[in-house]
């Protein structure tokens, strides 16, 4: 009970701090409670606040020094919004601009990056375990294990991973890693979250963020569509989104609640349950062979006589 009480209390503190952040931009994150195993870090993205300044993109480029360097001018250029952009081997996060069906005068901006699924399809797909989900909830990539089959890119329901097709010898799969080594492991929010001047993103434990999202929705009726994107999609994602217009209109795929690995892993695990099915095939074939051979010998004997 006591533990529970403490938990609810902390949750309330988190929510109050979050609400405070709603009112005036003061801190970069909600009161960060270290998440336990079942409830890991997440980020709530409130797209209604985004103005498309692309500072998150710049911060991402700054912290990921192995990405191609880009000038500040590039990040001030607003013509990039004329076309929809995807994440690729040069950018782990991109902001896109959409016409709002609600208020055509005010465009909607949406930031994309890896959603860090709770049941990641890419991790299930990877042939050598080069993609893993760490204790804090970040889905991370180990290039030294990778064989470059790109099956993770087939698997990802959000089309996140990019590949270095131009690199002939050591190409890597490139995607957002939640700043897991530089920041997340120290309990710090990712670089993009910290760089945002509009408090679009809130970093914290995922369940607190879900509470916060619901509170915001009830505090501002009519401002958001009812759905919190990422709450249940493909089993839930660490990154959660609020939007003023339907998520279809800002290019979020329409996905069910069933985790993607649930489409293949049951088949795999059934085929290899205690290695029994393969052994059964083997034994059955051997049995048929033995029976047929015996049967034939008997027949020949009859003929010989």
């Amino acid at each position: 009970m006591k533990k529970n009480d403490r938990r609810t209390f902390l949750k309330q503190v988190g929510v109050i701090a979050g609400l405070a952040a709603c009112g005036k931009a003061s801190t970069a994150c909600a009161a960060v409670r270290k998440p336990d195993e079942a409830d890991q870090y997440g980020v709530l993205v409130d797209t209604t606040r985004c103005v498309g300044c692309r500072r998150c993109e710049r911060a991402c480029n700054a912290i990921n020094t192995d990405l191609p360097r880009r000038s500040d001018e590039f990040y001030r250029d607003s013509t990039v919004f004329d076309h929809r952009r995807s994440m690729d081997d040069k950018a782990y996060t991109v902001v896109n601009r959409y016409r709002s069906s609600k208020d055509p005068a005010k465009p909607v901006f949406a930031k994309f990056q890896c959603m860090h699924c709770r049941k990641p399809a890419c991790v299930s797909a990877c042939i050598v375990g080069a993609l893993t989900r760490d204790a804090a909830g970040a889905v991370v990539y180990d290039p030294w294990k990778c064989i470059g089959c790109r099956y993770c890119m087939i698997a990802c329901p959000f089309q996140v991973p990019g590949y270095e097709y131009t690199n002939a010898l050591t190409p890597q799969v490139r995607k957002c890693h939640f700043c897991n080594q530089a920041r997340l492991s120290k309990g710090l929010p990712p670089a993009c979250v910290e760089a945002c001047p509009m408090e679009v993103m809130t970093f914290g434990s995922r369940s607190d963020l879900l509470d916060m999202a619901r509170l915001r929705r009830s505090a501002h009726p009519g401002r958001y569509v009812p759905r919190i994107y990422g709450e249940n999609e493909v089993g839930g994602t660490a990154w959660l989104y609020l939007s003023s217009i339907p998520f279809d209109e800002i290019d979020f795929p329409r996905l069910g609640y069933h985790p993607i690995p649930g489409y293949t892993e049951p088949i795999q695990h059934a085929i290899f349950k205690w290695f029994l099915p393969p052994l059964c095939i083997y034994a059955a074939l051997g049995g048929i062979w033995w029976y047929k051979a015996k049967h034939k010998k008997a027949q020949q004997k009859v003929i010989d006589i």
Partner: protein, 401 residues
């Protein structure tokens, strides 16, 4: 195994116009292969972040594995089910499988970004039992090993008593001969272990190839997103394996001026309607059960491909194999087998990149000319090596003149 004492090397000239054309196509494939290795995938292919897998996976790997299925289906027929009249087909089918799988592995190296890590799935520290691809990879590696073991008796038969190394290597002649005799003796006794293992491994990875694309349920066209996909892949692989045995036997007879081996091929073709019938029935039943028949007329490329690969190139060959007249005519049988092989080729391409619709594709993936060149080069290399092996090793049935 004493069944094969009637197999013999082919007594024909190796270099003909045909082999020279093959050589030219092989060289162009080799050129593309080198180009890809030096300049990377972006230079040699039209792959991108939306379409990460293309012609090389669809044809060189997925179709290659399916067409090489004759190795396990023919040995299942000849040994497990004791159909002795098919024994003469086992060796050519085995050679097809050995070459097919070897070139699946070689073709895969060109597609893998970090091809030098291809051995990683063998390391227990990197085993990933949840991954369908891991299972396919491990099974293919094991099966390739089994295939080479199954091929050893052919090498033994060719060289026992004939080991004749030149010059200073002469002193090894006796040792090598003893080794071959030993291998022949031991393998002759335990070969059933490997034959059974080969069939089991084939069933596992042929079906799992069909599970691969189920990881992308939101990107696959509904006609090709069935949970029964592994069953379709296994059934169609078994059928196309036999079709390949027929096709190759016909081509070899034509190429070596022999009479087509209709006395074996016609009975073999009698099995085809059963395999194809099961495949077609399950596929249609699944379509009705899932209600995906509404997508048959949606005018998209995958539904068009369904009409071509399934309607035209699977159902029509099924009826052709049903007719005893066609089964017993060399021309009709070759046509039916070729049609079904083309059907499976298109089916695998459809599953791996035509029915795959990424979220944000601005343009459809069309394989680059260089991708076709490498694929054609690999196919020609298989044909070239096949011809070389049958002129040197006792694979094809002895030809009575």
């Amino acid at each position: 195994m004493s069944f094969h004492r009637h197999a013999a090397p082919v007594d024909k000239k190796f270099f003909t116009t045909g082999t020279l054309i093959l050589t030219a196509l092989m060289l162009s494939g080799l050129g593309v292969g080198l180009y890809r290795m030096i300049f990377g995938l972006a230079a040699a292919t039209n792959l991108n972040n939306q379409y990460p897998m293309g012609l090389w996976i669809g044809v060189d790997v997925a179709t290659g594995v399916a067409l090489a299925a004759g190795g396990f289906t023919s040995s299942a027929l000849a040994y497990v089910f004791q159909r002795e009249h098919f024994h003469a087909l086992v060796r050519p089918a085995l050679l097809t499988a050995v070459l097919g799988y070897t070139f699946v592995a070689i073709g895969l190296l060109f597609d893998l970004g970090r091809w030098y890590n291809v051995w990683h799935p063998m390391l227990p520290s990197m085993w990933q039992g949840n991954s369908v691809l891991f299972e396919v990879g491990i099974c293919v590696m094991c099966y390739l090993t089994v295939l080479y073991i199954e091929f050893i008796p052919i090498v033994c038969e060719r060289f026992i008593g004939k080991v004749n190394l030149p010059g200073k290597l002469r002193r090894f002649n006796y040792g090598i001969d003893m080794l071959l005799r030993f291998l022949d003796h031991v393998l002759g006794k335990i070969m059933f272990v490997f034959i059974l293992a080969g069939i089991m491994l084939s069933c596992l990875h042929q079906s799992s190839l069909g599970t691969l694309m189920l990881i992308a349920p939101y990107k696959m066209h509904p006609l090709y997103a069935s949970q029964l996909s592994p069953v379709f892949f296994l059934a169609s692989a078994m059928a196309v394996g036999l079709a390949m045995v027929i096709f190759e036997s016909m081509l070899a007879s034509r190429s070596f001026d022999r009479k087509p081996e209709m006395y074996m091929l016609a009975p073999l073709a009698r099995i085809m309607p059963y395999l194809l019938g099961i495949y077609i029935a399950v596929k249609l039943g699944d379509m009705v059960y899932r209600g995906t028949h509404v997508f048959l007329m949606d005018g998209t490329a995958p539904s068009l491909m369904f009409w071509v690969e399934f309607g035209a190139l699977t159902v029509i060959p099924f009826f052709m194999f049903m007719s005893s007249e066609i089964r017993n005519s060399p021309r009709g049988l070759l046509l039916a087998a070729t049609m079904y092989i083309a059907g499976v080729l298109l089916n695998r391409c459809t599953v791996f990149f035509i029915a795959y619709k990424p979220l944000y594709a601005d343009k459809v993936y069309v394989p680059a000319l260089s991708e076709f060149a490498l694929t054609i080069g690999l196919v020609c290399t298989i044909a070239f090596v096949y011809r070389a092996v049958v002129t040197f090793f006792p694979v094809l049935p002895r030809h009575e003149t």
